[in-house]
Assembly symmetry: C2
Homo-oligomer: 484 residues x 2
């Protein structure tokens, strides 16, 4: 009767007890990795033989789960990025948590698709979004979506802003008819994801005006006003301003309140890039710095940075839920909602962003925020800011070291001085490479006013003051050795 000739099959373990025992052993490896974060070298290069092993061709035949786990322990686990280590301060990386390991295994067992429909995971994401609206001063009528990170959050916010100004026809006619030419604004210190979103959405990066900053690396508001006036006079259509909270080079926070005022006056969409810095608004020590953030039309930020949710997890909040949904909703017949059953549910998240299938990243956020509470997360955030001030003070006490930018939050840029500035550039880059290669510490580098800086970004819940003392010692020793 059936044309199925072979025994029916599935991809479940054939020996469940053995599988279970293996899974428990692997869980211990995972927890050992987290618990032992402080004890390992922060980083080591992937050895040549491991690189070769990771070039093996397509696995046509099944290898079985035991072999895969062995390969993982040998080829992958030892060569991590290092951001779980207390002395990782490169770029802007979060640390992750042990609770995140539990959350991710649970999300995987459910295998939920949060594009839409009516099931528990949807309510978890809604709850997380509602928490965020409340935390950042957005009204209950606002909307939001969990995303892979601030880059995607920015794309979504800009698409909503585009929809708001051009209305429905933009979705059908696009930007190709050239009737209105939209321009937006951020500072020269604005993050590259803003420029990349302008590119992706078809505005082009030229349509993003880069406004100069003052000595504190904050946006120059007079220059912003002048740029808007200039563009209006040229027949262009200014539509949005992006304020940084905070910038990635030096953690400068743009004047939120003044941007909000200007945007209200000029009827522009006010977007805030809060990738890592939005978290600092949740404490009580930076209230003045963040005044006006709650007037943003949209906010993009990450959970995987200063909130330590495992990668990847970010969020976009949008004040005007109609503009948000208007920019993305569109569902074909096979996705029609039903009055009852699994195809019910009031909110289908696929109506709020470019993704249709969406994983359950909300669970790890839910776990992390509940486990540690906003208080636990902000307390460590304040601790990191205090560590940054302490590090800056230690830098200031050393004549051989030079602080390269004011410390407003958690980023300290400094360098070892040499009389020859170019030699100093080379030396400081060399110091950073050595610290990484020797597994001691992982700051990164940047360029400030044309000069290389050692950049210490402190979004690390495992860092202790002693870790920064070691950093100072190691930098000094290497600088002195090069001078000798």
């Amino acid at each position: 009767m059936s044309d199925i000739k072979h025994p029916e099959i599935d991809l479940d373990p054939q020996d469940w007890p053995a599988f279970r025992a293996l899974a428990h052993r692997m869980l211990d490896h995972a927890l050992d990795h987290v618990q032992g974060a402080k004890e390992r070298a922060i980083w080591q290069p992937v050895p040549a033989d491991v690189k070769t092993a990771l070039k093996a061709g397509v696995p046509h035949a099944p290898q079985g789960i035991d072999k895969v786990c062995d390969d993982f322990l040998e080829q992958v686990l030892p060569y991590s990025t290092g951001n779980t280590h207390p002395r990782f301060w490169g770029w802007v990386h979060g640390t992750g948590t042990a609770g995140g390991v539990i959350a991710e295994m649970l999300a995987a067992c459910m295998n939920s698709n949060l594009g839409g429909r009516d099931h528990g995971a949807i309510y978890v994401e809604q709850q997380v979004v509602n928490w965020c609206k409340s935390l950042f001063g957005f009204p209950t009528s606002a909307s939001g979506l969990l995303v892979s990170g601030t880059s995607m959050a920015t794309v979504i916010a800009l698409a909503a802003a585009r929809f708001k100004v051009l209305e429905y026809p933009v979705r059908s006619t696009g930007l190709q008819n050239g009737t209105k030419r939209l321009v937006g604004y951020t500072s020269v210190e604005g993050h590259s994801c803003i420029s990349r979103a302008f590119d992706l959405l078809g505005f082009g990066t030229d349509a993003l005006r880069k406004i100069p900053v003052d000595q504190n690396y904050q946006m120059d508001m007079r220059a912003l006003s002048a740029a808007i006036a200039h563009d209006r006079a040229a027949g262009l259509t200014p539509f949005m301003v992006v304020g940084a909270a905070a910038t990635v080079n030096t953690a400068a926070v743009d004047p939120m309140h003044e941007i909000a005022e200007l945007c209200e006056k000029e009827k522009l969409w006010f977007h805030v890039d809060g990738a890592f810095g939005a978290v600092a608004a949740l404490g009580d020590k930076h209230t003045e710095l963040y005044k006006g953030l709650d007037r943003a039309d949209s906010l993009a930020f990450d959970f995987h940075k200063w909130m330590h949710v495992p990668y990847d997890a970010g969020c976009v909040l949008i004040r005007d839920a109609e503009a948000h949904r208007g920019a993305f909703n569109s569902r074909p017949e096979y996705l029609a909602e039903a009055p009852r059953g699994l195809a019910g549910g009031e909110q289908w998240f696929c109506d709020y962003g470019p993704e249709l299938s969406r994983g359950f990243r909300a669970l790890k956020v839910w776990f992390t925020l509940k486990e540690h509470g906003i208080e636990g997360i902000t307390r460590k955030m304040e601790d990191n800011c205090a560590q940054a001030r302490q590090l800056a003070q230690w830098v200031g006490e050393q004549p051989a070291l030079e602080l390269m930018a004011p410390v407003s939050l958690n980023i300290v840029c400094f360098r070892y001085r040499l009389d020859d500035a170019e030699k100093s550039d080379t030396l400081n880059r060399e110091i950073v490479m050595q610290l990484q290669e020797e597994g001691i510490a992982a700051p990164s580098t940047t360029v400030l006013q044309g000069r290389a800086a050692i950049r210490v970004n402190i979004t690390n819940h495992r860092s202790r003051l002693a870790d920064f003392e070691l950093l100072i010692q190691e930098v000094l020793a290497r600088g002195e050795a090069s001078n000798a």
Copy 2:
């Protein structure tokens, strides 16, 4: 000396043995959930009291990991989507695997960021991409990226195609100058993600021409040629054709070979939407159907569908790596690569897509493909296709049932006949809701030629023939009851 007044803190467990014991208990819950997939009702609505609990406000104070786990077991785990169940055939969902649970906990313990830099996870993603290039007939010089799913893969492929035709200036000037108006083509059965990508990228959905299909729901090639000629005559710039492999309504595969020929002649970018159907090209039973797929300029497909990797995980492959990288690369000073150390590494994935921070979704793909092998995955794929043929045969044997479209792969659309077509629409939608509500089975619905259909999409490694027998019985019983 320090302004840090409180004891230094971190977010690690204060009692590691207790945390470990809890993690092992939760792992057993996770594995019980997978192992017991067949025994549960496929779906149940979230009860009102659970919905209320999931509206609790911001967790300001830490709740601790025990409380979070308890909440999860009570409020979240029982209300899953149901796609781990053998009788889930709604939309296009993958089943997930037990091995995926292990992979996700391991990825979380490493907490890698795959935007770039030189660490083990990068080599894992490169290996997975290389496997895919090999499997789908792309040259070793091609590029690829793991993404959240086919929607993002499509955005990336279209951005690369846009870059290829408009070259570098498109990134700075965008589409706003209206010099060239790009148009692309797909069939009326093309997936909504294509239209959504046209919207997002600023082309506008009007720029995507919807070509009619024949009685097999395959793109009408003469209509495609005519549309291209018509657009060229109107001064527009045709730049790409999207072929479906396969369509989401009926799993029709567009004539790949003919589209490839036409694209070569017309110098158009040939993109293939292989969201779930690309996997069928990996077996030896559909060679003729997929002939020409290996000539695609880009391919978008999902691992989380017919390859059963846990959500979310998809892939884009792009033949012209220069166009791919050209469309996305741009890195500021703080992300500059270094000759040695952690900032080394030849390939930074942030140069190939819109995301900068990127999670380690490659690990669950690596685990799944190695554990089961391409053979294990394609064997179950063929099994699913045979099940679809069997189901179609059973439908054909029942006078009360009507097959609504030809079965080419794994999707069976049918309905219970009533003399009154509108009453039949209502009945069939009602049957689907009842089957879901009673936890028996979860097909979904669609509309074909204006009429509602019960749509059975078989991308489920747990489905057995007996599951489809039960479906037929249940549909017949409900249809007869309504007729009585």
